[in-house]
Amino acid sequence: MKHKSEIRQLLLVLFLAAALAGCEGAPNESPRAASVKEVSLGNAEHGRQLFMGYAHFENEGPPCMGCHSVGDNGILGGGALGPNLTNVTTEKTDDDIISVLSNTGIVISPVMLPIYRDDPLTPQEQADLLAFMKASVGERETNKEWLVFAISVAGTLGTALALGIVYRHRLRSVRRIMVEKAEKELR
C-alpha cells in the first residue's frame, strides 16, 4: 500500500513537471518571413556559423547541419537526411527558400515544419542563411558518410578488442578443456 501511494505521488510530480515544461515550450513568437530588404542585408559568414551550429539560433532551433550539407562541412561532413544544399539557390527562388525557412508561404517542408514550428528562425537568421547558401554555389559537394561508417566500425572493433584484452584472463571453460586434453593424451 505504501509503495502504491508513493508511485502515485511520483506520477503527479512528473505530470506537473511535464505541464510546466509544456508552458515553456509554447511558440516564442509567430513565424515571419524575411522581407526583400532584410534579405539583402544577409551576412554569409554569420549564416555559416548558424548552419554549422557554432552560433545558436535565437529561438534555440536545431542547427541545419544536423540534416543538411553545404560545401565542405568539417571533418565528418553534414547530415545526409535532408538534401545537399550547396547549389540550392541556383535551383530554387529566394522566395521559395525563405518560405521553407520561415514555414510561411507556398513551399513548406513537411519535415522542417514540426521541427521549427515552435522555434522559428528570425528574419535576420533567414537572410543570413540565404546569403550563406548563395555564397556556397559552385563549391565541391562532399559526401563523408563512408567516413562516419568506417569510424563506427573501427570504434566497435576497438572497443571489443579493448574489452577482450582487459578480460583476457577470465574463466572460459574448465571441464571441456580438461576432457579434451586428457583424451588427446590417451590417443
Binding site: 577470465r170 574463466l171 572460459r172 574448465v174 571441464r175 571441456r176 580438461m178 576432457v179 590417451l186
Partner: protein
C-alpha cells in the same frame, strides 16, 4: 568474549555408501524448479575425482575463498576473487564465473514420444533434450559424471588434490588393486567467515544470528553472481529464471519445527550428525590469520566447552537462550569435533571457517588374510596406517590444509576404536594389544566406547540435536496471532486476549 551459537554438522565419511539419496531428497524439496535444474545444494562426489562443478577445488581457476596477504608483519585477509574496486569494475562481467558446461547442461527425456509415436518398424525412443532450450542434446557431463570412476585417466587423474602429491603416491592411486575411492557428500558449510557474504556487492547475504545459517535475501539479491565466484566450495548457484542466486538453506523451515534437514533425515547410511556449537566470535579475526598448518587447531580453540560454567555465563550474557545452551551440551558435533578431535573441516586453507566437519574414511578395512582364510585385524597400528591405501597426504590436503599430524591423530583414534572393539567382540586381538592401541591413540577405554556408540548405534535423537527455536513465540510476544485472526474472515469472531 562474544559467544554465538552455530548449528553445525558432521559427516562420517566412513559410513557413506554414495547412494545420492540426500541429493535427491534435497532436489525434490528445493531445486525442482525452472532455473534451478542444474543446482545441487547437496551433492555427493567420488574422491579422487573432479567433483561438481568440475575441479571446484582448483582456486587458481575459480578464485574462491580468502588468501593471506604476502607480508611478514600483520598480514590481512583478502578475497582471492577481487578487491572492492575490482568488484565495481567487474560488476557487469564477473571474470571467474563457472560456465554452464562446468556444471552441466540439465536435460530430460522426451518421454511423450514413447506413447505418441506413430506405428512404425522401429521401437520409439525417448531422446534426451536440454532443459534450458528444449533442443535435443548429446549428454557430455552430469552432476556426478565421474561417480565411482576412481582410477579414471580422464577424471580422477585431474583431481586438483593430486597436484602436490609425490609420483610414488600417484602411481599407487592408479595401479590396480591399489586404487581406492570414497564418497564425499557436500552441502553449504555455513561458514563463520563466509566468502560469499564478503563478496556480495548488494549486501544480500547474511548469517542468521540464532543458528548461523547463511542465507541469500531474495529481495536484495541483484544477481551480480560475485558469491558464486567467491564461494570456494561453489555452493551458491545462479538461478537463470529468477535472476537471483540461491544456496542451501539448511532446511531452516524444518529446523524451526524441530526436524532435521531433508538430506540429514533421508541419509541411508546415517552418516550425518547435527548439533549446536558455541563459539567465540571475537576470535574469528585471529583464527583466520594463522599459518596453514595451525588452522584446524585454531578453529577448534574457537569452539567453546558448553559445560564450562564460565562459558555458560558468558553465553547467557550474549543472549543465547538456555534451551540452546542445553542443546549444545548434548551436541554430537561437539563430541566429534572438539572432544574427540575426529572430525575435520573441509579445506580449512580457504579460511572461511567452514562449520561442516568430516570424519575421514578409514579405508580399507585393515586386516590381512591368514593361511586358513580367516582375517585378522592388524594390531600393528602405525605400520598399518602407513600401508593404508588412502595416502594420509591426500586426506591432509583435503581436511587439514596439509597438516598430516592432524589427520593421523584422527586415524589413530579410529583404528584404536576398531582394535578395541575387535578384542571385545571377536576376540582375535588380545586385550593387551587393544590396550596398547588405545595408549598409542592416546585415549581411554571409555572414550573408545563412546566413539563406538555414537558412530555405530546412535538414535535419531542422538544424531540430530536440534536447538529449540523460538521464532514463532518471539513474534507472538509483540503480535498476538489471535488478534490478527479476529481481524480477518467473515462474521463475528472473538479473539482470545493474552497478557504479556
Amino acid at each position: 568474549m562474544k559467544i554465538r551459537s552455530q548449528v553445525s554438522m558432521v559427516f562420517h565419511l566412513d559410513k557413506c555408501i554414495g547412494c545420492h539419496t540426500c541429493s535427491i531428497a534435497c532436489k525434490n524439496i528445493w531445486t525442482d524448479r525452472e532455473g534451478a535444474e542444474y543446482m545441487w545444494w547437496n551433492n555427493v562426489e567420488t574422491k579422487p575425482g573432479v567433483g561438481f562443478p568440475t575441479q571446484w577445488e582448483d582456486q587458481e581457476k575459480y578464485h574462491g575463498g580468502w588468501e593471506l596477504e604476502d607480508k611478514p608483519k600483520n598480514p590481512q585477509l583478502k578475497l582471492k576473487l577481487q578487491n572492492r574496486l575490482q568488484t565495481f569494475a567487474n560488476l557487469f562481467s564477473n571474470p571467474a564465473m563457472p560456465t554452464m558446461d562446468d556444471y552441466y547442461e540439465p536435460w530430460t527425456y522426451k518421454y511423450g514420444d514413447l506413447f505418441n509415436s506413430p506405428l512404425g518398424d522401429d521401437q520409439p525412443t525417448a531422446r534426451p533434450v536440454s532443459r534450458v532450450d528444449g533442443k535435443p542434446i548429446d549428454i557430455k557431463s552430469g552432476p556426478n559424471w565421474d561417480d565411482d570412476l576412481s582410477g579414471s585417466n580422464i577424471y580422477a587423474v585431474n583431481d586438483p588434490l593430486l597436484e602436490s602429491m609425490s609420483d610414488d603416491d600417484k602411481r599407487r592411486l592408479f595401479s590396480i588393486e591399489q586404487l581406492f575411492y570414497f564418497y564425499m557428500p557436500r552441502i553449504c558449510n555455513h561458514c563463520l567467515n563466509a566468502g560469499c557474504v564478503a563478496a556480495c556487492p548488494s549486501g544480500a547475504i547474511y548469517k542468521r544470528a540464532e543458528d548461523g545459517v547463511v542465507l541469500i535475501n531474495q529481495d536484495k539479491c541483484r544477481g551480480w553472481r560475485m558469491c558464486v565466484s567467491a564461494c570456494p566450495y561453489k555452493k551458491t548457484y545462479y538461478n537463470w529464471a529468477t535472476g537471483k542466486s540461491e544456496k542451501c538453506i539448511l532446511c531452516y523451515p524444518r529446523l524451526e519445527t524441530g526436524q532435521a534437514p531433508a538430506c540429514f533425515h533421508s541419509c541411508v547410511g546415517r552418516i550425518r550428525y547435527l548439533g549446536v556449537l558455541l563459539y567465540d566470535a571475537d576470535q574469528i579475526p585471529d583464527a583466520v590469520r594463522v599459518p596453514d598448518e595451525q588452522l584446524v587447531q585454531r578453529q577448534r580453540e574457537m569452539i567453546l566447552d558448553p559445560n564450562d560454567p564460565s562459558v555458560i555465563a558468558a553465553a547467557k550474557e550474549s543472549g543465547i537462550p538456555d534451551g540452546v545452551i542445553a542443546a549444545a551440551q548434548r551436541s554430537p558435533v561437539y563430541q566429534y569435533v572438539k572432544e574427540w578431535e575426529l572430525a575435520l573441516p573441509l579445506h580449512p586453507e580457504y579460511r572461511t571457517l567452514p562449520m561442516l566437519f568430516y570424519v575421514p574414511p578409514l579405508l580399507p578395512v585393515l586386516n590381512s588374510t591368514q593361511e586358513n582364510g580367516a582375517q585378522r585385524v592388524e594390531a600393528e597400528l602405525f605400520s598399518s596406517l602407513e600401508k593404508a591405501r588412502v595416502p594420509v597426504r591426500y586426506m591432509s590436503r583435503m581436511l587439514s590444509a596439509g597438516n598430516d599430524e592432524v589427520v593421523l591423530k584422527s586415524y589413530r583414534k579410529m583404528i584404536g576404536v576398531r582394535i578395541y572393539k575387535r578384542a571385545e567382540t571377536v576376540g582375535d586381538v588380545t586385550a593387551e594389544e587393544a590396550a596398547d592401541a588405545l595408549a598409542q591413540a592416546n585415549m581411554t577405554a571409555e572414550e573408545a566406547e563412546a566413539i563406538y556408540r555414537l558412530t555405530s548405534l546412535p538414535t535419531y535423537q542422538e544424531r540430530f540435536v536440534i536447538p529449540p527455536y523460538s521464532r514463532e513465540g518471539d513474534i507472538e510476544e509483540i503480535y498476538d496471532p489471535q488478534q490478527r485472526k479476529a481481524e480477518s474472515g467473515f462474521g463475528k469472531s472473538q479473539g482470545a486476549h493474552r497478557g504479556l
